[in-house]
Each structure stands twice: as structure tokens, then as C-alpha cells.
């Protein structure tokens, strides 16, 4: 196994272990997503027609907000306990460590949101025939969202008003993923194939997968003081 790959897997294992010591963090983002969906349901008056029309939009907005909230403290603890300094000076590639970190983050936070999607879809009375497409789209979109969040979190970790600035930086960048994912589900609900939106979301996610960890590593270096 190459050095970089070993750095990725050790960082991945460590993050998973850490997160499993505190499963509450994961439940919080799932709980947040369910709660926001329920709020929308109540605000829309609970009428099935309205819900079905607004459903996919609500679902993806909820995913976006839940992903954003989870990602905002990604480096906060590393900064407090000195791990961030050690990561920066480590002989291992910082990008490799960040790959491990973001993939572990997605496996826990992203995939738990994907697993909660059927519940959200039920709450929003979405067409259950589309569930496989919905799950696939959510899987791709959450990975993309987490990668974007990684870059934002790296840029804002040392700022006092970091969370607000992170929102301003990252939320606009998340719009294309929102549009592509929503496009896939919407066109499927109108009887079309939805593959176009799915392919675009997948293309963006792949691009982010190639670039985001390196960008985040650069962000951590230039903001280190």
C-alpha cells in the first residue's frame, strides 16, 4: 500500500472511531432533518397535493441544511486540541489525511441522512416508486455537499464568526448540487428518466472528490497563523 493510501485509511479509521464514541452527533443531524421536514409539512397545511408538489424541494433543502450544520464544526476540535498543527506539520500529505477525514464524515453523517431519506419521503408523501432513484441521488448529493463543506470549514476554522461566514461561502456553492439533484427527482416524477440531473450531480461530485481535499489543505495552510 502506498504511503498516501495508508494515511487516508488511518485518518479514516480514526475519524470513524471518534464519531462512534459520540453517536449523538449523528443522531442530531438526522433529527434536525426530520424536524425541518415536519415543520415544512405543518407549514404547508398537510394537504397531500401541496406536499407532493413541494416535497422534493423540501427534501433537498433539508439535506443541504443538515449537511451544512454537521460540517461546520469539522475542524473546530482539531484546532482546540492541537491536532490541526500536527496535521499541518506531519510528514504525511495533508490532502491524504483530509481525504480520510471527509470520507469518514460522509460515511457517518452523509449516509445516515441517506438512510433517513425514506422517512423524510414518507413524511412528504413522495411517490415511493421513485425511492431507489431518490436514494441514489441523495447518496451522490450528500457526498458532494460534504466535500464543499470541507473546503468551507478549512477556510473558516480560525475565524471567530466562522459559522456565519461558512454559511455565506458554502451555501451558494451548494446550489448547483441542489438544482441537479432536484432536477433528477422532479423529472422522474413527471415520468421522464431523471438520468440527466443524476449524471450532472455525479459529475460535480466527482470533480469535487478530485479537487476539494487539496483545496481544503491549501485553505488550512494559508489560514494558519
Amino acid at each position: 500500500m502506498s504511503r498516501e493510501l495508508r494515511s487516508v485509511t488511518t485518518a479514516f479509521r480514526r475519524e470513524i472511531k471518534l464519531a462512534l464514541k459520540r453517536p449523538a452527533d449523528i443522531w442530531l443531524s438526522v433529527g434536525f432533518a426530520v424536524l425541518v421536514t415536519m415543520l415544512f409539512g405543518i407549514a404547508l397545511g398537510g394537504s397531500p397535493n401541496k406536499l407532493a408538489a413541494a416535497g422534493p424541494a423540501v427534501l433537498f433543502t433539508t439535506l443541504l441544511l443538515a449537511s451544512f450544520l454537521a460540517v461546520s464544526r469539522m475542524f473546530a476540535e482539531d484546532l482546540e486540541d492541537g491536532s490541526l498543527d500536527q496535521m499541518l506539520i506531519s510528514p504525511s500529505s495533508l490532502t491524504a489525511i483530509l481525504y480520510g477525514k471527509v470520507l469518514a464524515f460522509w460515511c457517518l453523517h452523509g449516509l445516515s441522512l441517506v438512510l433517513a431519506t425514506p422517512i423524510l419521503a414518507l413524511l412528504l408523501r413522495l411517490d415511493m416508486d421513485q425511492l431507489p432513484l431518490l436514494l441514489l441521488t441523495c447518496t451522490i448529493v450528500t457526498l458532494g455537499l460534504n466535500l464543499l463543506g470541507l473546503v468551507g470549514a478549512a477556510l473558516t476554522v480560525r475565524l471567530r464568526a466562522g459559522a456565519m461566514l461558512l454559511a455565506l461561502i458554502v451555501l451558494p456553492l451548494m446550489v448547483p448540487l441542489l438544482v441537479f439533484g432536484l432536477g433528477a427527482v422532479m423529472s422522474a416524477s413527471q415520468g421522464e428518466s431523471g438520468i440527466a440531473g443524476l449524471a450532472l450531480a455525479a459529475a460535480e461530485t466527482l470533480l469535487l472528490l478530485a479537487l476539494a481535499p487539496a483545496a481544503a489543505a491549501l485553505g488550512l495552510r494559508i489560514t494558519s497563523e
Binding site: 494515511s7 488511518t10 471518534l18 482546540e80 486540541d81 500536527q86 494558519s224
Partner: protein, 222 residues
């Protein structure tokens, strides 16, 4: 032009029979370096050289910028003016700051395993076992790092230094939080490192608790 504040060591560093400024033995040269915080220079421009097999002690009172200087040399912060040049690869540097970089939720061994892997250093169970005994950490292996005392966390960080020795160590107040035994351990670690051709830069606000031959570099507040 301000003169750099370099005092010659009272005790000469361990014998390295090379000329003082030879490019082969000079690991780091610092030229007229100054650091700013919030637009104010922290100390007068500083110049010194770190030779192979020697210790540089950066001495100053609190708030003059010892930690900032060390972080700058480690590449963790930027310098305002002047320059410094490492003559060793960045991968040979080890930095030990106030926070040892341990995850409170993970056990001592998990923390150690992670950092040794990131240091590209293999896991030698016998060496780890001996190190744990030497650093008085036996029996705490499975304890979460959050349950260790500040001194014990410091010892874990020192154990990592022993197990994955880079050529040059940057130690921020290495004697803080340690008891007499810990202080003696740090002294031994540094002596071993020097004997193997490494170098150490450490910070302190006064006298070192143990005799180590150092090149004393005093930071003078502006």
C-alpha cells in the same frame, strides 16, 4: 539597524568538530526575522543559526513571542520580515506545542498509533512497550486521553517523539507540566537526539530546570 540578540553559550554545545558556519552542519539559518501580531512587531529582528547536534534555547518573558516564533519556524504561521531557511526536509521536523494533539475520546494507544502512522513510522510493539514503561504510562494504555492528566498527556507526546524521531525538534516549553522524573526524561530525550545528530530548538522563559548546553537566543520586546 538593530543588532541581533545572540549570546554565545556559556557552555559549549556537544563537540561537533566543524566550523561554526558550514553549510553541511547548519540545519537552519534565521536572518533578521521579525513577527507581527495585529500590526505590531513582537520582538527585535532576530538572527541565529542552528547547528547539527546543538540546542537553541529561545528565552523571553511571557508575551514576547516565543511561541509565535517557534510556530513560524515550524511553518505554522507567517513571518512579517526577514527570512529563515531550513537545510533539512520538512518531513524531518517535529513540533510539540502547548496542546499535544491528542483526541480526548480515544485511548492513549489509539492516539499514539494514529500519529506514528502519520509520521510514516512503523508500529514496533516492543519499542512501544518499553517506551510506555520508561514514560510511566503503563496501565493507562486503554484509558481515554481525556482522563489523563496534563503531565501524562505531555508524556504521550514525548513518547511519540522518542518513537518517531525527526532530525529537528521544535519544543515549546518542553518542561511545563512535568514532575522531576518527566524533566529528567526530557533531558535524556534531548541528549539522545543530539547524540544521533539531531537538533533541538526549545523555548523557555527563564532558566532550564536541568543543565543542557544551549545556544541562548534572547527575544527582546520592541
Amino acid at each position: 539597524m538593530l543588532a541581533p540578540d545572540v549570546h554565545l553559550p556559556a557552555v559549549s554545545p556537544p563537540a561537533i568538530s566543524a566550523p561554526a558556519i558550514s553549510p553541511l552542519t547548519c540545519l537552519l539559518s534565521v536572518t533578521e526575522l521579525s513577527i507581527e501580531r495585529g500590526g505590531f512587531a513582537l520582538f527585535r529582528p532576530l538572527s541565529f543559526q542552528l547547528q547539527c547536534g546543538s540546542v537553541v534555547m529561545i528565552a523571553a518573558d511571557n508575551g514576547v513571542g516565543k511561541t509565535s516564533l517557534l510556530r513560524t519556524l515550524a511553518g505554522l504561521a507567517s513571518a512579517a520580515e526577514g527570512e529563515f531557511q531550513w537545510h533539512v526536509a520538512a518531513r524531518e521536523l517535529r513540533f510539540l506545542g502547548h496542546q499535544p494533539g491528542l483526541k480526548g475520546a480515544l485511548s492513549l494507544l489509539d492516539n499514539l498509533r494514529f500519529w506514528l502512522a502519520q509520521d510514516q513510522c512503523g508500529w514496533d510493539a516492543a519499542a512501544v512497550e518499553a517506551g510506555l514503561r520508561r514514560f510511566n504510562l503503563r496501565g493507562h494504555e486503554e484509558q481515554p486521553a481525556a482522563a489523563l492528566s496534563a503531565g501524562q498527556r505531555r508524556r504521550v507526546a514525548l513518547l511519540r517523539l522518542q518513537l518517531s524521531p525527526g532530525q529537528c525538534w521544535l519544543l515549546d516549553e518542553p518542561f511545563a507540566n512535568l514532575d522531576q522524573h518527566g524533566i529528567a526524561l526530557v533531558q535524556e530525550l534531548i541528549a539522545t537526539r543530539l547524540a544521533q545528530g539531531g537538533s533541538v530548538i526549545l523555548t523557555s522563559h527563564g532558566q532550564l530546570p536541568v543543565p543542557i548546553a544551549v545556544l541562548r537566543v534572547a527575544l527582546v520586546a520592541v
